[in-house]
Structures are given as C-alpha cells and as structure tokens.
C-alpha cells in the first residue's frame, strides 16, 4: 500500500464510523496532512489509526484566546498526519489516546501538568513533569501564568510520587538518583529486584525541567534558535535545525541550497561525534577501558575539527533562521575530507580488535533485549528503533533537503540487544562519513542565508528532522511582531525512554548502566 492509499483508506473508515474530518490547508503540506476533528472522537480516531498501523509520534497543546488546541502527530511510511481538535477553556477535557498508544502516555501527562487539560480514560493519573515547583491547580503554559510563577524559596522534594510497589519475601527496592554517580544528567530510577535480577524498573524524570516551552514565548526567531540549540546540548544542531525549519515554513521561506548542504554536514558531524562517544561509553560501562580511551581520542580529534571549521566544539548556534551562520571555505572542505581518511582506518583497526574480544561479547550480546513488537508498540525511533527492526529514518523517508540529493543506506538490525545498538551506531558513523563527503562534493558557490520575512500573526510551522538520536519534531506558532507564541520541541528521547523500562527486565542490576547507555536518552530533552 503506498502512502496516499493509507490516508484515503483511513478517511473512508472515519466516514464509515461517522467521524467528520476537516482537512486544512497548511504551510507544511505535502509532508503532513492536517485534519481537524471534534473532541469527542479523539480516542476513536486513535483506535482507527492504530488499526491502520500508524505510529504515534508527538502530542502537544496550545492556548489560543479562550480555547485550547490539542495536536497529535501520526506517521506511516514517511507521511505525517497532524490531527488537531479544539476544546473550551473552562473545564478542558479530552478522551485519552494513551489507552490506545502507550507512546502518548507521558506526553498527555505532560500536557495535563502544563495546561490542566484532563485526559479522560488515561491509564495513569500521576503527574509527570510537575514535581513541587508549582501548585497542581496552576498550569505554567496557560497564558495567564506568569513566567516567574510564584515559587517557594526552597522548592521541596517530590516525596509522595506513588511508585509501583512490590511485595513478598526476597524482593527489595533500589532507589537511584536524581544525583547519579557518574558525570551524567539527573533523574530517578526505582528498581524492584530479587537477588540481582531486575523485576521492574520505573523512571521518574522531570528533574531538569527548565520551562523551555514557557520561556520560548515572546522570543525572536534568532533567540528561539539559540534556545532550541540548548534543548539537549548533544543535539544542538538538529534541534536548532528543526526549530528553524518550522520557523522558515511559518515565514514561507526556503533556504539556499548551499545552506541546506552545510546544515547536512553539521548534522552528520554531530551524529558521528555522539556515536563515537557512545560506543566508547558502552564499552566503558562493561569496564573495557581500551575502547573508551580510543573512542574518546577519536571524538576529541573530531571535535577539534568542529572548532577549527565551525568555531564551536559542539557546533552550537551554527544553524540560524534562514540558513547557517558561517560558510565553509575550500580549505575547510579539504580539512573535513582529510579528517575522514584516518578516522576510517582507525575505526577499522579498533573495531576489529573489539570484535575479536570475547569478554566484551559476553557482556553485550543478548543483554538489554528489546523485541521488535515492543519497539513498534512504543513507536521507538532512531538507533534504538532501528536496532529492533523499526525501519524508519526521516532523512530517507521524508527526504528533506539536502538528503533529497543523495543516495544512502539506512542501517537496520533486528537482534535488539546492546550489541545491536552498538553495531548500528558503527554503521551509522560509516554512512554519515559518506554523506559528509557527498555533501561537500555537491557544494556550489552561493548564498548561505536567506533574508528573513516577518511571518503573519498566527502562522505555524512543523520541523521534522533526523537528529542523531532519531526523529525530532518542532512545532512553532508566531504571534505578531516576529514573536513566538508557542514552541514545542519533541526530542526522540521522549519516545525512547519508556522502552528502557522494558529492555532492562530480567537483566541484572549491575548491567543497568550499560543498558541505559546503549539507549542514551536525553534527560534535558525529555524534561524541557
């Protein structure tokens, strides 16, 4: 069935079920269809979409005057369907989609915490993003909530979150975090274990909630791009790209070809840098320090070229609305290309040495197994999804510029264990190196920045890119005067975190760090 077929089939089924769909014109057709539906059929629409095999990708709300608009983004075969519904400001309620799509669970709880929209029939009534920084009867993303809020001098800890409990002889609980033993972000993990075996794991995140959605309001496009670049510091290029793509759609702007290619180079370089770090860190978590030292050395070499060519080791603020901040000269291109040659050779040497190491194999094969059906049920994206047979990559399936100009293979594995997530990263590095070379060869002289047009009030945009962790969504709506009225970034971690609770089951507690690292979700990108 091709892409157009499924939208037609779904529409017919909706008609048969008596659901009226109002297809809206939008800036982001043809990549995404926009369907407005009545609030009462919100859940029914999810059920029919589930039957059609659509993946639930993102959900968010916004306040426009005296009403809320709730959005949910679904996807199949690289075609996106944005469904939206409007509900009243007084007693806002909506049938939950979380009972149909587990991926919607935390997202709806976030929307409840931030807007006070009640999702009827939601399987989990607990808060998610809210701890104790604001009262449960106030909602930060409502327009009448001041940015400063009314916090206490010392925000108390969230002591009464009802974790799942275990009973019976021999079971015990291990609370971990929010402050962890390593140099990593804060979050809480609650284990139930028998002996060393993990019976259950529950994540409690939200510790690094910085109010990104709220402080985005009223910003200029340039300032929003900076903020988006700090949603998750390791994904700075892709988050600012997604935000800029959304803003450019809203402004009706198309960026110069050269700028798109440079964005492609930046995003692929970011992917390589993070995968190099991750492969080393996975090995380090099973005490294989040789690999950690080698990969952190390769990563450092790579970052130094970032600094030389783009002026920042992590590539922050290189992507700006309308294009990119700085051009690459011919000598920069030569340096980038020259860098790739020794990296390829060194990777071959190191990977061969690792592949023959039985003590490493013993730890990463079969551990942290994520079956294909669970990966599909949770809508897992990026390398975590692709290591468990989820054949989806925005770069290939949506083919946004510059990826429409190149041919490349998307790596896929179906073993679903830590080793699989290790190998898929290696394959993605190799593919990214090729892409960088292709993009450089395609560069022709030209502009790198399109002049900014002020978008009309109320215009919106939806940026969708493949970050190094997977699919990133950014929704932007403008007010008048070039100011942002709503920004919602959906980091891939939001879809990937829940499967960590699944893939650690029946592993031993000491293997949790390596299981977690193999997934490597962003805490900051999740908590916003």
């Amino acid at each position: 069935m091709n892409a157009l077929n499924w939208t037609e089939t779904l529409r017919q089924q909706l008609e048969e079920a008596g659901i009226v769909v109002d297809q809206q014109e939008s800036a982001y057709t043809p990549h995404a269809l926009v369907w407005q539906v009545a609030a009462e059929v919100w859940q029914q629409l999810a059920e029919l979409s589930m039957l059609q095999g659509l993946r639930w990708s993102a959900g968010w709300a916004e306040q426009t005057g005296e009403q809320f608009t709730v959005h949910a983004l679904l996807e199949k075969q690289g075609v996106y369907l944005l469904i939206r519904t409007s509900i009243g400001y007084k007693k806002p309620e909506l049938p939950s989609q979380a009972s149909v799509y587990p991926a919607a669970n935390r997202s709806e709880r976030h929307t409840h915490d931030m807007f006070g929209i009640k999702f009827i029939g939601h399987p989990d009534k607990r808060p998610w993003t809210r701890h104790k920084a604001w009262d449960k009867h106030t909602h930060p993303l409502r327009k009448d909530f001041p940015v400063q809020g009314s916090p206490e001098i010392i925000t108390p800890p969230d002591m009464d979150y009802p974790f799942i409990r275990s009973h019976g002889a021999g079971t015990y609980e291990i609370p971990v975090g929010p402050v962890h033993a390593g140099i990593i972000e804060p979050g809480h993990f609650r284990f139930q274990a028998v002996g060393e075996l993990i019976l259950n794991l529950e994540e409690r995140l939200g510790y690094v909630h910085k109010g990104i959605e709220k402080i985005a309001e009223g910003r200029t496009p340039q300032s929003l791009a900076r903020l988006a670049g700090r949603v998750s510091g390791d994904t700075t290029v892709s988050h600012s790209w997604a935000a800029c793509m959304a803003m450019e759609q809203a402004a009706g702007l198309s960026i110069p070809g050269r700028a798109a290619l440079i964005r492609g180079i930046l995003a692929e370089r970011e992917r390589v840098a993070n995968h190099l770090g991750d492969i080393g860190a996975i090995c380090n978590d099973v005490a294989f320090v040789f690999a950690q030292m080698q990969f952190s050395r390769l990563r450092e070499n790579w970052l130094r070229t970032h600094a030389t060519v783009f002026g920042h080791r992590l590539l922050m603020d290189c992507v700006i609305p309308g294009g990119v901040k700085s051009d690459v000269s011919d000598s920069d291109c030569r340096l980038i290309k020259q860098d790739i040659i020794p990296l390829r050779k060194e990777l071959t040497d190191i990977i061969t040495a690792l592949d023959l190491n039985s003590s490493l194999e013993d730890r990463v094969y079969t551990a942290g197994f994520l079956p294909e059906d669970i990966a599909a049920a949770f809508g897992t994206v990026g390398y975590v999804g692709r290591a468990s047979g989820q054949d989806f990559d925005v770069r290939r399936d949506l083919a946004y510029p510059p990826y429409d100009q190149v041919k490349f293979k998307v790596a896929l594995e179906n073993q679903g264990d830590i080793a699989s997530r290790f190998w898929i990263r290696y394959k993605e590095i190799i593919a990214a190196l090729k892409l960088i070379e292709q993009f450089i060869d395609l560069l022709t002289p030209g502009e790198i920045l399109e002049e900014w047009h002020v978008p009309v009030a109320g215009s919106e945009g939806l940026g969708i890119v493949e970050g190094w962790r997977g699919e990133i969504i950014a929704f932007v709506r403008f007010d008048g005067d070039n100011k942002i009225s709503r920004f919602y970034p959906r980091d891939p971690s939001i879809l990937n975190w829940p499967v960590l609770e699944k893939l650690v089951l029946n592993n031993i507690v000491p293997d949790f760090p390596v299981c977690n690292k193999s997934l490597n979700g962003s805490y900051s990108g999740n908590d916003l």
Binding site: Q148, A181, I215, S296, M316, Y523
Partner: protein, 170 residues
C-alpha cells in the same frame, strides 16, 4: 588480543602538556576565583560533578577531561561517585527548581572544607534560561560559589586551567 596491544602501542601517548595559568590567562578564559583557596588542598582534589539542570553540553566537555588528550588525573584531580568523598562540587546548569533540594542536600553531604565551582554560563548567571517558575538561575542563588568557569560550554582547556588554578601550590 595482539591487535589490541598493537593499537595501544601504535597510538602512543597523546596527552598534551598544560601549564598552570597566569591570572591574565584566567581572565581571558572567563574564569573567576572569588575566594581565597584553602592551602590544605594543594596537590590533589576529588570532584563530585552535579548536573543541576544543564542541557548536557557542559557534561560532554567535563567528560572530555578524562580523555587521553587532557588526562586530568595526572594533576591529581579526579572525579568521585559520592559527595562524601569530594573536596569540590562542580555544578553545571541553571539550578532547576526540581533539583534545588537535591543540590542543597548534596552540598550538605560534602564534608568541610569544600569549594563549589560553577561551570558554564548557565551556572554562572542563568545563561539562556535565567530565573523562572522552573529555574533558580545561577548556582550562587542556591549555594555559595567559590569559582566560576564561564563558557557555553567551557572548553576542556578552560576547565583544566580553572581547576589547576584551584589546586595550585601557593
């Protein structure tokens, strides 16, 4: 196994020399030492890193301190897993309100005498996030800060030099 040893031998030692910085250099790097440093620490410090709300950018660069190029342990500076083992708390991020109590408790759990180093622009002044319903802003709004290493994020070199200036023999 032979391939592994061959790779180690052919890679050799890549660690780069870093000199203890002069005051002018520190200023250029955006490093501010606010308080007189206790002399008892000369020689070695144990660091507990706390992410109090950062975007993870600073953590990536702090990680780099342990890579073979910077190899910060050669200076007697090492990262520990508990605040109870630490002399220095290296705090990143604007302090999110949800992390405020955790940061205060970690600070209390660190034995005296102790220093707090705020790392990155957010930790120094609130950075891109500032003070809001969700963020307390700078680290100094929550616990006393002894030194600041600015940057978004600070480079590993700035971090090494900032830390070296703390444990310099006076």
């Amino acid at each position: 196994m032979l391939r592994l040893f061959k790779k180690i031998l052919t890679t050799g030692i890549v660690t780069e020399p870093v000199k203890a910085p002069k005051d002018v250099e520190l200023e250029q790097l955006g490093i501010a030492i606010k308080r007189h440093i206790d002399r008892r620490y000369s020689g070695s410090i144990a660091i507990r890193q706390i992410d109090a709300g950062s975007c993870n950018g600073c953590e990536l660069e702090i990680h780099a301190l342990n890579n073979p190029y910077y190899d910060i342990e050669r200076f007697g500076i090492h990262f520990v897993a508990s605040p109870r083992h630490a002399d220095v708390l290296l705090v990143t991020g604007p302090v999110s309100r949800h992390m405020q109590t955790a940061l205060l408790r970690t600070y209390e759990a660190t034995p005296d005498p102790k220093w707090v180093v705020a790392v990155g622009d957010c930790a120094a002044c609130g950075g891109e996030f500032g003070v809001s319903y969700a963020s307390c802003g700078a680290v100094s709004n929550v616990i006393p800060v002894d030194a600041v290493i600015a940057g978004c994020p600070p480079t590993p070199l700035a971090l090494v030099q900032g830390l070296l200036s703390l444990c310099e023999r006076h």
